[in-house]
Every structure is written in structure tokens, then in C-alpha cells.
């Protein structure tokens, strides 16, 4: 009997040890993970969903977030972990761009206007009329121009605003469908743009004004976010149906890789320092992919976040200052305030 008892105790011990170890291995806080949650900044009183992010490269830690559902833009100091200002009265803000040097903030409203604010006192300088859904913005530093994606069908285009004078330029690039996320080439004339309604990617040559279109893989649709690795000629998009990361060669317009990823994706970032992709999804994860080489990618980590947290911003380190960070917007839930979570990128 004693022998049996000893065996049983041993078996139980081994079993419990094994279970504990397994449980620990499954614990979400992975000390070697590519992203570590290092700050949580509360945004009390902010209701509804968030949209895009912008950063002030001159003042690391200052970030701007469109609180689409709350008709406001939240200005945060993530070094101090506080909200420094709330710009209110913007109907359904979407895209946001900060013009460094001019210290101006551009905010796109789904209700038809582009708002321009002073970056110091956050006072409204002017509002530019589009009478269309104004969505994604990009700031081009060398030309001091803000690119503006707006409109549907015949009205759909990417236009430009002179960030110094706040005037619309006459030149526009017609896209034929509402421009979702787009990226400006720095060393070439192209603009790559997601044309979700057409299940295509548009390539605009800014010199010739020619628009070329690439199809999504068969049965793929809902391509919203986009990122670009210009030196390696790679374009990244994510489709919601099915949830996939799709990698294109920008020289050939052909896909080189397709990988399953998190569902309900609205943002996608390429981290050139670590050759990684950060993909937050409303399913409640950030998927991190590692670029092995130009044509090979693998999922490095799947980081559990919060259901509904589908928009984020990535701010790379500037020179030796600060840290590489991914910021994730967390919408409010019953009994819990909205917040911004800051993840520090690990080597």
C-alpha cells in the first residue's frame, strides 16, 4: 500500500508540475516578445471608436489620435503619460497629419471638411471644404504638402493642400473609387492606394498622372490598410475577407507572399529598423510578422489585446532619442474608460 501511495503522490506531483509549466508557457506576458506593454494612458469621457494616429517627430511622445465616435482629437504626452489637450467639435474625424516645421495639425472629417489647427494652442486656423468623405492624410515633408484622400466613385481622388498657405492645389489624382490607405514613394513618383470598392490596388504615377491597377488575389476583398518597404520594393496590404497579409513586389505588381493574420484589421505598420510588420485587429490581437527576406515572412508573435482595439500608430525612434513604440487605441467598454496603450518594441 505504501508503495502504491508513493507512486500516486509522485504521479500527482509530476502531473501538477507539468500542468503548471504548460499554463505558464501559455501565459500571455512573453518576456521575449517583440512588443512589451509599458504604459496605459486613460482617456476619460471618450466614447466610440478611434481612427488614425499622428506623431510630432520634433517632440517625441506627443501623439494625436482621431476619436471618430467622440467627434474629437486627443493630444497625448506619452512621456508623461497624460492627455494634454482635447480638440472638440470635429464631426467624425478620420485621417490626421502633423506638419513638422510648420507646427500645424490637419484633421480629415468624414462629414466633408479638412480642419487645420495650430500645433501649440490647438486653435482652428481654417477649415477647407470638400463636400465628400475626407479620409486618409499623408504629409510630404520636402514639398510641404498634405495629401488628402476623399470622395467616392467619380469624385474619388487624392488631392493636395499646400501646408504653408492652407490652399487646395488644382492638381488631383482621380482614383475611381474611395481611396483607403495609401503610401507615397519617397524616391519615386508613385502613390500606392487601396481601392477597396474595386478589390484592387491603384498605382498613381505623379509624373505622368497614369493610374495602373493591380487585382487582389481571387476571392480576396476589403483591403483597407497598407504599408511600404521602399528599399526592398515591397508593398504590404491586409484584407479582411479572408484575413490575410498580402505582400506585393512593386516592380512587377505580383504577390510574393500571402499569410493568415488577425481579423478585422484597419491599420498596418512596417518597422524598417527591425524588418517587422505590426498588425492590430479588432479580434483582440496584434500580429507581429518578421521579414526573413524579401519573399519570406513569418508570424513572430500574436499579442493578446482587447476585443475592438483595431487602430494603432507606430512611431520609430528618432536618432538616438526615445524608443520605438506601437500605440494602441482601446475603446471604452461598460465600466471601463477608453485608453491608449503604449508598447515598446524589443530587439
Amino acid at each position: 500500500m505504501k508503495a502504491i501511495r508513493r507512486i500516486c503522490i509522485t504521479v500527482t506531483g509530476v502531473l501538477s508540475f507539468a500542468l503548471c509549466v504548460t499554463a505558464q508557457e501559455k501565459a500571455p506576458a512573453d518576456e521575449n516578445g517583440p512588443l512589451i506593454l509599458t504604459a496605459q494612458v486613460p482617456l476619460p469621457g471618450v466614447h466610440g471608436r478611434f481612427d488614425h494616429f499622428a506623431f510630432d517627430p520634433a517632440e517625441p511622445g506627443r501623439i494625436f489620435i482621431s476619436a471618430l465616435g467622440n467627434n474629437s482629437v486627443e493630444v497625448l504626452n506619452t512621456v508623461e503619460g497624460t492627455e494634454v489637450h482635447r480638440i472638440t467639435g470635429i464631426p467624425e474625424p478620420q485621417g490626421i497629419a502633423f506638419a513638422i516645421g510648420l507646427n500645424k495639425l490637419f484633421v480629415a472629417s468624414r462629414k466633408g471638411k479638412l480642419y487645420v489647427y495650430d500645433g501649440t494652442d490647438y486653435k482652428l486656423i481654417t477649415a477647407i471644404d470638400y463636400n465628400a468623405d475626407v479620409d486618409n492624410l499623408r504629409y510630404d515633408v520636402p514639398t510641404k504638402r498634405v495629401y488628402v484622400g476623399y470622395g467616392d466613385e467619380d469624385k474619388a481622388a487624392i488631392g493636395m493642400v499646400d501646408a504653408t498657405t492652407n490652399q487646395r492645389l488644382d492638381e488631383v489624382y482621380k482614383t475611381g473609387a474611395h481611396p483607403e490607405s495609401y503610401q507615397l514613394e519617397k524616391s519615386g513618383p508613385n502613390i500606392y492606394v487601396n481601392l477597396e470598392d474595386l478589390k484592387q490596388i491603384g498605382v498613381i504615377d505623379r509624373t505622368t498622372k497614369k493610374l495602373t491597377k493591380w487585382d487582389l488575389p481571387p476571392k480576396f476583398e476589403e483591403n483597407f490598410p497598407m504599408a511600404l518597404d521602399e528599399p526592398e520594393h515591397r508593398l504590404f496590404i491586409v484584407t479582411r475577407t479572408p484575413p490575410r497579409l498580402v505582400v506585393y513586389d512593386t516592380n512587377s505588381g505580383k504577390t510574393v507572399a500571402t499569410l493568415p493574420c488577425v481579423a478585422d484589421v484597419d491599420d498596418l505598420y512596417y518597422d524598417a529598423n527591425h524588418k517587422r510588420l505590426y498588425i492590430p485587429g479588432g479580434q483582440g490581437f496584434i500580429d507581429v510578422f518578421q521579414e526573413k527576406d524579401d519573399d519570406h515572412y513569418e508570424r513572430l508573435a500574436r499579442i493578446r489585446t482587447v476585443i475592438g482595439a483595431r487602430t494603432a500608430g507606430y512611431a520609430p525612434r528618432i536618432g538616438k532619442k526615445g524608443q520605438d513604440r506601437v500605440y494602441l487605441a482601446i475603446p471604452n467598454t461598460p465600466g471601463k474608460e477608453a485608453a491608449v496603450w503604449a508598447y515598446t518594441v524589443q530587439e
Binding site: R5, C8, T12, L15, S16, L19, T22, A23, K26, H47, G48, R49, L68, G69, N70, E92, E196, E222, F224, R240, T241, P242, P243, P260, A263, D264, G281, G282, Q283, G284, R302, R304, I307, G308, R310, P331, N332, T333, P334, G335
Partner: protein, 341 residues
């Protein structure tokens, strides 16, 4: 069994429970047909929800709160509740959105009233009265008619432009629960849960036929797959999913179903049936072919969440909306599920 063996057994059971708990926290099943992607708070609302209406182009969900005498309007693109309407509702049971007129209709159990609102201003336009217990609503956009299940029981009709009742209700003999209008034909199929029957109305000849359900009854929700001439019925007692031939009433097959169910939808793109159940699950069935079906998922939700809506693509998402009533530890919410192929 001596005390030692008893304690060893207890410990082993305990350990396996720990194992089971750990399993629940594992990453979500990658092949799940529905993924919860958003939870939108509906603050200050107690009591149970009833059948929601959906404005596809405007991205709005209208949630009647039976237990709160209100209609909550959620803007899914903005991710927030944008309005709470209290306009003398007495146990509101369903909201029907009329896309061509940008209006919505709210049926009430109390006074049998159907209240019609402007979709832009949310102002009350008119009230159409039925004798009692106005419940489910359906819209025929071609004839611009609203069909209303009421009382004990009949399907009444009113003109959506004039808000005047059209004479000649279809008497069915018991309170109508879910009913469906045939789009490529003249039939109306009506669940009569109290008598375990389905009434089949011909809108042209006005003939009413009745199919008796032998295997399972207390039949509340219903959905149609007209292309394959199939009707899906959710029976509560016993809990079964019944698949019927729309033309003959013959039961094609039946599968274990969801208890306490109130809404079901057929997703023609994915050939799936979604059934919300108050026991805290969404049951998902796959149509293999018109005669064969398989339950492919039982997705945990929240206790009491038994009303839902699926309308295909709304605000650039393929979403199933689930209304989750307030629980002890959390306020009411709209849960948004993304469908996955």
C-alpha cells in the same frame, strides 16, 4: 474506497479542471466562423432586448429594449450609441427599418401600436394601431407594405407611404412569432409557437394552410433559403433546428438545436445559419447541400443574448449583430461579429 484514494481522486479531478480552465484561455479557434471584433456599450439600459432593425447604408442598428420601454440607436461606424428614444413605448418588440423611405417602425406589445419615425430627425410621424400585442414586422419594398404579426392572432398590413391599414388581415388562429415573406412567390410562412404549427398564407388566393410540427415545437425563429426552397425553424421544445421543404412542409432533416432562441439568420454567401440563444451561445450550421446540414460551431456569448441580426455587408463589414442585455457585472452592449469564410 479509503480516504487516501478519495483524496487522490479528488486531487486528480481538481487538476483536470485546472487543465480545462487553461484550455479556455488558449488562443481563439482560428477556424471559427464568427469572430467577435467589437463591443459597443449601450449605457443606462436595463432589461431584455427584442428584435433589432438595421439601416444598411447608414450603418445604424435600432435595438428595442422590451424591459426598458426604449429604442436604442447605435451607429456602428462610430462605435457608439447615438440616441435613446422614449416615445411612449410599451414593451417594444421589434424595429423595422424602411430603407427607401428612411423611416423606422417600432412594434409594441402594449396597445398593439406600431409607431413610425423619421430616420433623419427621429421624430414620431404616425401611429398605426392593431388590437393587441404587435410583434414581428416585415417589409415588402416593392409594394411598400409593412406586415405586422399581432394578437391571437393575425398578420395585418399597412401602407408604408400613407401609414394606413389595408383591409383584410390574414387570420392564423394563434399569436404569430417569426414570419417570412416569400420574395419570388406569394406565400407568407408564420411560426405559431403556442400550437406547434406553421401557417402558410397565400397572399393572392388568401388561402391559409397549416403544417403541424410533430417532432419539436415552441417554434420561434425562422429563416428562408428561397434559392433551394428550404425553410429553417428554431424549435425550443425540444431544442432542434428543423429544415423543411418550403413547398411541401416536409421535414428534410433536424439537428440538435439551441434552447431559448429568438432570432436566426441565413447567410446565403457562406451557406450558414446563425442561431442566437439565451443560454449564451450562437449556434452555427453549415449547409452542405440543401438536404444535409452540420453544426460547425457553438460560440460562447453571454447569458440572455438571444436576439440578433445579419444583413450581409453593413458599413464595410460583414457583421452579425448580437444584443447583449445588462448583466450583474457589466452594462448592456451591442456585440459585433465578423463572419469568416
Amino acid at each position: 474506497m479509503n480516504s487516501f484514494w478519495r483524496s487522490w481522486l479528488a486531487l486528480s479531478i481538481l487538476l483536470s479542471c485546472v487543465g480545462a480552465a487553461a484550455q479556455e484561455t488558449l488562443p481563439i479557434d482560428e477556424s471559427a466562423p464568427l469572430i467577435l471584433v467589437r463591443t459597443i456599450p449601450i449605457p443606462g439600459v436595463d432589461g431584455r432586448f427584442d428584435h433589432p432593425g438595421v439601416d444598411i447604408s447608414g450603418g445604424r442598428v435600432f435595438a428595442p429594449v422590451y424591459g426598458n420601454d426604449s429604442v436604442e440607436v447605435v451607429d456602428v461606424a462610430r462605435g457608439r450609441r447615438i440616441r435613446s428614444i422614449q416615445e411612449g413605448f410599451i414593451k417594444p418588440q421589434m424595429v423595422l427599418y424602411l430603407p427607401d423611405l428612411n423611416r423606422f417602425v417600432v412594434s409594441n406589445k402594449g396597445e398593439g401600436a406600431c409607431k413610425i419615425f423619421d430616420g433623419e430627425t427621429y421624430k414620431l410621424i404616425d401611429t398605426v394601431k392593431f388590437s393587441d400585442d404587435a410583434d414581428q414586422l416585415r417589409y415588402d419594398p416593392v409594394a411598400k407594405r409593412v406586415y405586422v404579426g399581432y394578437g391571437d392572432g393575425a398578420i395585418g398590413v399597412f401602407d408604408a407611404k400613407t401609414n394606413k391599414r389595408i383591409e383584410g388581415d390574414f387570420e392564423v388562429g394563434a399569436h404569430p412569432e417569426s414570419f417570412q415573406l416569400e420574395q419570388k412567390g406569394s406565400k407568407i410562412f408564420v411560426n405559431l409557437e403556442s400550437v406547434n404549427q406553421i401557417a402558410v398564407i397565400d397572399r393572392n388566393t388568401r388561402k391559409v394552410e397549416k403544417w403541424k410540427l410533430e417532432e419539436a415545437g415552441t417554434n420561434f425563429p425562422m429563416a428562408l433559403d428561397e434559392a433551394h426552397r428550404r425553410m429553417f425553424v428554431g424549435a425550443r421544445r425540444p431544442a432542434r433546428l428543423l429544415v423543411l421543404d418550403m413547398d411541401t412542409g416536409k421535414i428534410i432533416t433536424s439537428l440538435p438545436g439551441a434552447a431559448d432562441t429568438d432570432d436566426m439568420s441565413f447567410d446565403a454567401d457562406r451557406k450558414r445559419i446563425y442561431v442566437a440563444s439565451g443560454e449564451g451561445f450562437i449556434f452555427v450550421y453549415q449547409q452542405i447541400d440543401p438536404d444535409r446540414y452540420k453544426r460547425i460551431a457553438k460560440i460562447p456569448t453571454a447569458i440572455g443574448a438571444r436576439t440578433s441580426a445579419y444583413y450581409g455587408q453593413v458599413a464595410k463589414h460583414n457583421s452579425l449583430y448580437l444584443l447583449v442585455p445588462a448583466r450583474a457585472d457589466r452594462g448592456a452592449e451591442l456585440w459585433v461579429y465578423e463572419t469568416r469564410d
